[in-house]
């Protein structure tokens, strides 16, 4: 397995899962990312990332109950594992560290 670093998109997906709480499954994750980041997200990409996160141990999944939608197929719900939380926090701390050493930061440079 590759290192436990979080890629940018992985981080977004992981955050989305955490944000969606009990209702995080592939389609809803897609929708949520699209809504928040306003960029087009492909299901196949999200799916691949979820698979990768699962392998890294940052998320775990379980199958929900069958419903009448989706042709009766069950949904796979994702939750963030402890390792996932640790990884997210670590990323946030690193960012915060950078932020804290920047003296003045003004939007006018942009």
């Amino acid at each position: 397995m590759k290192g436990t670093n979080l890629g940018e998109f992985e981080e977004v997906v992981l955050l989305t899962i955490a944000a969606l709480m009990e209702d995080a499954y592939s389609v809803s994750i897609c929708d949520e990312i699209e809504r928040v980041t306003e960029r087009k997200v492909k299901l196949s990409v999200v799916h691949a990332v979820l698979n990768r996160l699962d392998k890294k141990g940052f998320v775990k999944s379980h199958l929900g109950d069958p419903t009448s939608t989706r042709g009766g197929r069950r949904k796979r719900f994702f939750t963030v594992t402890h390792a996932g939380k640790v990884a997210l926090t670590k990323v946030k701390q690193q960012r915060d560290q950078f932020w804290s050493v920047i003296p003045e930061f003004n939007l006018k440079f942009i």
Partner: protein
């Protein structure tokens, strides 16, 4: 939702299911479905379906694709041991059925092993030549007007020469002519010597291993001889054979080479070769040019090797134009040239005048099909009995399925069981194969000359493969059937036979089996009848007590003088060959005005021959009694020739003239009644007796004796005293005829043997089915008996079904076999025995008796059983 009826394309779903990992499949499909539904509302059904397909394709990624099921295969592998164990147990439990299966399969397999060996041997013929795929030979088709052409492996020297000179793109071409025969004198010793003439390009075409001498020049000079190492050792024991002299027919030949004896798998075998230039020189001296005639195609062969860039079609096109050119100068009989690949000679079409042995594709096909039928029959037995027994195994399958076996695993299990049976049979079959081999080879001398039936170790692998294929095919239907059983149904009420009641397959198989058995019996008896018919056929002359002796090059008059001493020999005549046993010789003859010409078959005889053989003269007289005929003046012809040359009635024909060759104008002296000079498969055509006792090769001794065997011994002793070099080769006319029709005898033996095998196998199968029926219906029988059914009525009840099947089988077999023989197999026989009603009925009788005895014995046993015993255990 509107559009509720619209679904994603089914095939896309199937594709997804096929490639996707099972654990990912469900939610992935769900996701795609959700998108599909969204698209359906937003973009319409077409777009939605399209997107769905695209998505399915897009998800084909490393992480979604299922891994090769190594794990699954591993379980299969682990289960092997279990399958093996249960199979062995089940085989052991049903000893009778296993024995029937193994025995039946073993017998039929041994026949198949024989065939496999034979086929591979035939296929390997002539493959030792380098570039054997580029070597071909010229074959002839002789056609008279619009009659069916006669096919010959031989061709004319003229065709061979034109091939060498005019056809481009050949690496080499060689002409071979048979067959020189003389006494070879070496010092004080004399040996009989037979060899073909072959020209100097012989070794460019063939790769026979020349041990000594120059391959490019050894056959160039006239009177050169190449000996095989075997012959050289015989002629010159312990000496160097090179440049030695051999004296034959007052000519001295020089040994210019030693070649390794042709291997067994060469269709063309020889003990020596003589240079073709010898033949050319001798023919030129005779100042006749018949030897270069387009029609002189009886004993010459032309083999050629293609260049790498030449196709056989190009050569064929040139040969066709050569033939057209020659035929434009010919009369009513035309000769067409075609080609045959070297590797196809042994197994190719049946051609006359073969240079060596040829089995012919017809015989191979027949044997192959027969072997297939036999193995089919045994396979049916297995299928039948297994399905019948599967009632017992149903519970086992149920339990396995409950525990978690998949359909595939159950299928594998039963297939393995079938393979175990077939491999067991193979071991037995292999032993039987060695018993069968000598019997098969001894069927006919040709068989011994052309086949050894030895197999290399690699063949054992083929045998095993064959056994496994047989196992899989025989076990296929039962395995499929058992693997489809539903666990719940089987376990809920296993006693029900309803599960199996719908299977008519069993009945179909039994009918097929017995149809085949019947067909075999009928065929065997028809072949036997045809053989007897041919032997007892009135040939038109008297063959009784005539002993034909081959002169082996001795002077006919001297030899005759020797035998005249023996009092039991009442008369002696001379002839060139033995008629009516297959050999034919022909000349072209013309009418007096030269307008009509025809092929005339002939025999060269002396004046004693016609009365001795009892030919009936319709008009005219026999040849005048002359011991030596200096100038041939007259000829005796048969009736057919009169029509061909329009000579009128026999009386009118006397005194008319026929021309044989350029020099011989012969007056018709007598007309004999038509008789069979050839075998019965050909019609009587033009035939002439020529008065040339000096050309005699045979003496015909008429014997009057109480003790024929004793007389024959006396004759043989007289021969040995007279000629120490050549062995005595004499045989009674009737025996010669019998040998000529031995193909029917071989056919009878083979078909009879196979008939016996199929009947045995079918009967075994029927026995198994009888046992099974009686067992499963034992309770029913007991209850019927308690209620007052008689034993006779019970037997009738149980056998009725089988008897019906047999009846159906006979209704199919009789007409089809009759048709097969009437219009296919015997149709090319000009004279044949009628297919009698007796043969047909006899076959049916045999089948019914066998069928009834097997079934009857089992039902009898069941009907006799004590109902108290069987019902008590309930």
């Amino acid at each position: 939702m509107k559009n509720k009826s619209v679904h994603p394309p089914k095939w896309a779903n199937r594709l997804l299911e096929w490639y996707c990992k099972p654990e990912l499949f469900e939610d992935l499909q769900g996701d795609l479905y959700e998108y599909f539904e969204r698209n359906l509302e937003a973009k319409g059904s077409r777009r939605a379906r399209f997107n769905y397909v695209m998505d399915v394709l897009k998800f084909f990624k490393p992480y979604t694709v299922r891994k090769l099921e190594i794990l699954g295969q591993l379980t299969q592998f682990i289960m092997f041991k279990n399958y093996f164990k249960t199979s062995i147990r089940s085989i052991g439990r049903n000893k009778l059925f296993s024995a029937i299966n193994v025995f039946g399969l073993a017998i039929s397999m041994s026949v198949c092993l024989l065939m496999i060996t034979m086929f591979s041997e035939v296929k390997n013929y002539d493959r030792f030549h380098a570039d054997h795929d580029r070597i071909h030979r010229v074959t002839n088709a002789q056609k008279y007007l619009n009659n069916e052409p006669n096919l010959f492996a031989s061709t004319s020297i003229l065709a061979g020469r034109r091939l060498k000179e005019e056809v481009p793109g050949l690496e080499a071409a060689t002409i071979i002519t048979r067959s020189f025969s003389a006494d070879a004198k070496i010092g004080d010793n004399t040996f009989p010597f037979n060899a073909p003439w072959a020209d100097n390009d012989f070794f460019k075409v063939f790769s026979f291993n020349l041990l000594r001498g120059d391959a490019t020049a050894a056959l160039s000079e006239p009177y050169s001889v190449i000996l095989t190492d075997e012959t050289a050792e015989k002629f010159f024991p312990g000496q160097d054979p090179m440049d030695q002299t051999i004296l034959m027919n007052e000519q001295s030949y020089r040994v210019t080479g030693v070649v390794e004896k042709p291997p067994f798998n060469s269709h063309f075998k020889f003990s020596a070769l003589i240079s073709f230039s010898t033949y050319e020189q001798q023919q030129k001296q005779t100042e006749e040019d018949w030897w270069l005639n387009w029609h002189n195609m009886w004993s010459n062969y032309a083999y050629f090797k293609l260049d790498k860039n030449t196709t056989i079609d190009q050569v064929q096109a040139r040969l066709t134009s050569i033939a057209d050119d020659e035929n434009s100068r010919q009369g009513q009989t035309k000769i067409f040239l075609s080609t045959q690949a070297l590797t196809n000679i042994m197994s190719g079409p049946d051609l006359s005048n073969q240079l060596g042995e040829s089995i012919g594709n017809e015989a191979l096909w027949i044997l192959g099909v027969l072997a297939f039928i036999v193995i089919l029959s045994a396979g049916f037995n297995y299928t039948n009995l297994s399905i019948a027994r599967s009632l017992r195994r149903a519970k086992e399958v149920g339990v396995r399925k409950v525990v978690g076996a998949s359909k595939k695993q159950v299928f594998t299990q039963f297939t393995i069981e079938a393979c175990i049976i077939s491999v067991c049979s193979l071991i037995l079959a292999y032993l039987l194969f060695f018993l069968l081999k000598p019997l098969f080879l001894n069927l006919s001398p040709e068989m011994q000359r052309s086949l050894k039936l030895e197999h290399e170790p690699i063949m054992l692998l083929y045998f095993l493969l064959f056994a496994i294929v047989v196992g899989i095919s025989a076990g296929f239907i039962p395995s499929l059937f058992l693997s489809r059983l539903r666990a719940i149904q089987v376990l809920k009420d296993a006693s029900t036979t309803r599960l199996f009641s719908k299977i008519n397959l069993r009945k179909v198989l039994i009918v097929v089996q017995f149809t085949l058995s019947l067909a075999f019996i009928i065929s065997a008896s028809i072949a036997n009848r045809q053989f007897k018919y041919a032997l007892n056929f009135d040939l038109g002359f008297d063959t009784e007590n005539v002993l034909n002796i081959s002169l082996a090059g001795n002077d006919p008059y001297l030899t005759k003088a020797v035998f005249e001493q023996i009092p039991e020999i009442t008369d002696i005549s001379m002839s060139s060959h033995v008629l009516s046993t297959g050999n034919r010789y022909a000349n072209q003859a013309k009418s007096e005005d030269g307008l009509d010409s025809a092929t005339v078959y002939l025999s060269q005889i002396d004046h004693k021959y016609i009365p001795l053989m009892g030919h009936e003269l319709l008009a005219g007289t026999n040849f005048v009694a002359k011991d030596r005929v200096e100038k041939e003046e007259t000829v005796i012809v048969n009736e057919t020739i009169l029509n061909k040359f329009k000579l009128g009635t026999p009386e009118e024909a006397i005194g008319k003239v026929l021309k044989f060759g350029p020099t011989n104008s012969l007056i018709v002296q007598g007309v004999v009644k038509n008789f069979h000079y050839a075998t019965l498969d050909s019609e009587i055509e033009s035939f002439a007796f020529r008065h040339q006792p000096q050309n005699a090769q045979m003496l015909n001794l008429k014997i009057m004796s109480e003790n024929i065997i004793d007389t024959r011994r006396k004759i043989e002793e007289a021969w040995l005293e007279f000629d120490e070099v050549h062995e005595f080769r004499g045989s009674f006319y009737d025996d010669r005829i019998e040998a000529a029709y031995s193909e029917f005898e071989v056919m009878f033996t083979v078909v009879g043997f196979l008939a016996f095998i199929t009947i045995t196998i079918s009967a075994l199968g029927l026995l198994g089915m009888g046992v099974y029926t009686a067992e499963t219906r034992l309770k029913e029988i007991s209850i019927r008996k308690v209620l007052g059914a008689s034993e006779g009525s019970l037997i009738r009840l149980l056998s009725r079904g089988f008897m019906w099947l047999l009846l159906i089988a006979s209704l199919i077999a009789i007409p089809s076999t009759y048709y097969l023989f009437d219009s296919v197999l015997l149709s090319d026989q000009a004279h044949r025995a009628d297919i009698g009603v007796m043969e047909l009925i006899l076959g049916v009788m045999v089948i019914f008796v066998i069928g009834f005895t097997t079934i009857g014995s089992q039902t009898w046993k069941a009907a006799k059983s004590n109902p108290a015993q069987t019902l008590r255990s309930e």
